[in-house]
């Protein structure tokens, strides 16, 4: 499939390729550096000049997932010889593992809150967008503008009222509270994006379903939703990325129970000196779910970003 009228010259192709590769390198270097640092020893991680070739170690990952104490002679004797590879790594540094760290919990919190708010946002967003797209809603334009206006200031500007509200409602440091908060922030974006997608779906499909004996709601989820899949997928990615990466509200509103990974990762530094490999390991693992989610939906995402530009 080619849309060009004339084949670009070889020089143009080289230039375009060069540009794309160059851009990819620039954006990927920090990522590669984070992943590499996760496998460095603490000494290598702060070496100057920075080392590019190093002996990889899993010490960062062990430190990320465990709590350790400095070993005394007595403790080493009580513990006996190390039985696992990760105990061996801790021993080599003169420490013993005292238990698992809280990273796993925090990561799970991120998953629950991130995916939970994305799912809720999609459910509410598609229904609201459908209603705005298809029904005569009184004051439709004003309502849509109002919804959009909630994103005209940075969300953190209302941090203090939200903090007080959450405290009064008992939502502080709860999963539900964070899910509701991220849903509220993302909803305007999802309603607007999804309305655009649903507007593009000809109304005749639903009318055909109505004629074929289905109710309005059946027509919505059996005929409209499958066709809006592309829009829903790309909107879901945007919502998830925001909820997953959000830091400021998470710092402010969560601590012991519902704390997500972003506010937790920096606290690793303070445990025993500047443990950059453990921080990098935490960041690397934190990247994986969004990466997998995006790769799974990338076909939809590409169609989604260019939607409306080309008629099928």
């Amino acid at each position: 499939m080619s849309f060009s009228v004339t084949e670009p010259s070889l020089r143009t192709k080289w230039f375009a390729g060069f540009l794309v590769i160059g851009y990819a390198i620039i954006t990927l270097i920090p990522l590669v550096w984070i992943i590499a640092t996760g496998f460095k020893s603490p000494a290598d991680s702060i070496a100057y000049p920075p080392v590019v070739v190093f002996e990889p170690t899993l010490e960062g990952y062990v430190n990320l997932f465990t709590d350790r104490t400095r070993a005394t002679e007595q403790m080493l004797e009580d513990a006996g010889p190390p039985t696992t590879w990760y105990e061996q790594i801790a021993r080599d540094r003169g420490t013993v593992i005292s238990g698992p760290s809280r990273y796993g919990e925090r990561f799970l919190n991120s998953v629950i809150i991130g995916f939970g708010s994305t799912a809720l946002c999609m459910i509410l967003g598609t229904m609201a967008a459908y209603a705005f797209s298809r029904f005569k809603v009184p004051l439709k334009d004003d309502l849509l503008f109002f919804i959009l206006s909630t994103r005209m200031m940075p969300p953190i500007a209302v941090a203090i009222p939200i903090f007080l509200m959450f405290r009064n409602l008992g939502l502080n440091d709860t999963h539900l509270g964070m899910i509701l908060l991220y849903t509220a922030v993302n909803l305007s974006l999802s309603v607007w994006l999804l309305k655009g997608f649903i507007d593009e779906i000809p109304i005749e499909y639903e009318e055909a379903a109505l004629i074929d004996g289905y109710t309005r709601f059946q027509a919505f989820y059996k005929v409209v939703l499958p066709q809006a899949a592309t829009g829903i997928a790309s909107t879901a990615i945007f919502c998830l990325i925001f909820a997953w990466n959000e830091y400021a509200f998470a710092v402010l509103l969560t601590s012991g129970n519902a704390q997500t990974a972003p506010p937790f990762i920096p606290t690793i530094i303070g445990v025993a000196g500047k443990d950059w490999p453990a921080v990098a390991a935490g960041a690397t693992i934190f990247l994986v779910p969004v990466m997998v989610f995006t790769i799974l939906l990338r076909k939809h995402l590409l169609r989604g970003i260019t939607f409306g530009a080309v008629r099928k």
């Binding site: 005749e204 009318e207 055909a208 109505l210 004629i211 074929d212 004996g213 109710t215």
Partner: protein, 365 residues
């Protein structure tokens, strides 16, 4: 199968009045055409019958039951959309079976029914194909399959051939008419193409500006138009209008057209002032002896016939005549109008004056 009755149906969109108080009856098994220019309210009328729009006032009866305010899903009708509206995420077989699934018909029976319909429409070999890659004609057939599979009370079609190219339309319209004759189902068909309407329809409703102008069998509408709009909209070239001033009354049998006496069917209505004499192009004959004169200004060759345009003192007149007759531009000649076929219109209201010839048709519509 059912009779459909529309009584005083009106539809407003905000302050815009799309359909003004319309009434007509579609008999059981009829192939019924809703004809009119775009924006005349024909599609809105169809959608009200189907339940996709609810009428602002008035009643719609399908099979004796008043359904005006019922949703489409409860009316047991089928609709064929101009753009077909096949479900894009389903294959051909699934599309056809979809109306059956909503009724909770058992799977084995659905399969049998779909196979049967596919056989009728000649699409058995594409049942497993996605609808995306189908040709226009196949899409049309699938859309028809989805409509007939449920054996509904009536079929509604909104310019179903509009999306096909000219060559294929001809073929599809024959196929459609044959299918109707075979099933005998009440069908309401919206079109803006007067030729299509006359070709396919048992009856035609002509609409304009949300008003039913006339309703009847194609030949009656063609021969005895109730209004100037119908006379002009139907037929190609359309009816000739000769505007003149005069007075006619009950029993009048001739009118005076610039000194020439023209015989007309005996009138039953009277009118004085601005009048229009309407005559179809095929009912004008060139005759040197005729009193009414004109000058040939153009000829158009159409194969078996030709259209000759003459300039008269009351405007242009187009004449359809066999193409072997030799007519030259600039010639002056007489025009003979076939007295039995003429219609007089009141120029102010646009309505036809009743005469002995059109009385039956006009009273019926």
């Amino acid at each position: 199968m059912a009779q459909i009755r529309i009584e005083n149906v009106r539809k407003d969109f905000g302050s815009f009045n799309a359909v003004k108080s319309s009434s007509f009856t579609i008999e059981d098994g009829e192939f019924f055409m809703l004809l009119g220019p775009s924006g005349c309210g024909k599609t809105t009328t169809l959608r009200m019958m189907a339940g996709l729009e609810l009428p602002t006032s008035g009643e719609i009866y399908i099979d004796g039951e008043e359904v005006g305010q019922k949703p489409a899903s409860q009316r047991d009708i089928a609709f064929v959309f101009q753009m077909f509206a096949l479900y894009p995420h389903m294959n051909v077989g699934k599309n056809i079976s979809y109306p059956l699934l909503s009724q909770g018909m058992p799977n084995a029976q659905v399969k049998k029914k779909v196979a049967e319909i596919a056989e009728i429409l000649g699409i058995t070999d594409i049942l497993n194909r996605p609808v995306g890659g189908l040709s226009g004609g196949d899409r049309q057939r699938v859309a028809l399959g989805r409509a007939i599979v449920r054996e509904p009370k009536a079929f509604f079609m909104d310019e179903p051939l509009g999306a096909l190219d000219a060559e294929f339309r001809e073929h599809m319209s024959e196929e459609l008419r044959a299918l109707h004759d075979r099933m005998g189902a009440t069908t309401v068909y919206v079109t803006h193409d007067q030729l299509e309407a006359m070709q396919m329809g048992d009856k035609i409703v002509v609409m304009n500006h949300g008003v039913v102008e006339q309703f009847g069998v194609p030949q009656d509408i063609y021969d005895w138009p109730a209004t100037k709009f119908v006379a002009q909209f139907i037929g190609s070239p359309s009816m000739n209008f000769l505007d003149f001033n005069g007075t006619v009354g009950k029993g009048t049998e001739t009118v005076d057209l610039g000194g020439a006496r023209i015989a007309v069917p005996r009138l039953l209505d009277g009118e004085s002032g601005a009048l229009t004499l309407g005559v179809r192009p095929e009912h004008v004959y060139l005759s040197d002896a005729a009193a009414y004169r004109g000058e040939v200004i153009a000829t158009e060759y159409l194969g078996t016939t030709q259209i000759v345009t003459l300039k008269t003192q009351h405007g242009q007149v187009k004449v359809r005549m066999p193409s072997h007759l030799n007519v030259r531009r600039g010639e002056r000649t007489g025009l003979d109008l076939d007295a039995r076929t003429l219609t007089l219109f009141s120029a102010s209201t646009g309505h036809a004056l009743r005469s002995e010839a059109n009385l039956e048709v006009l009273n019926h519509g």
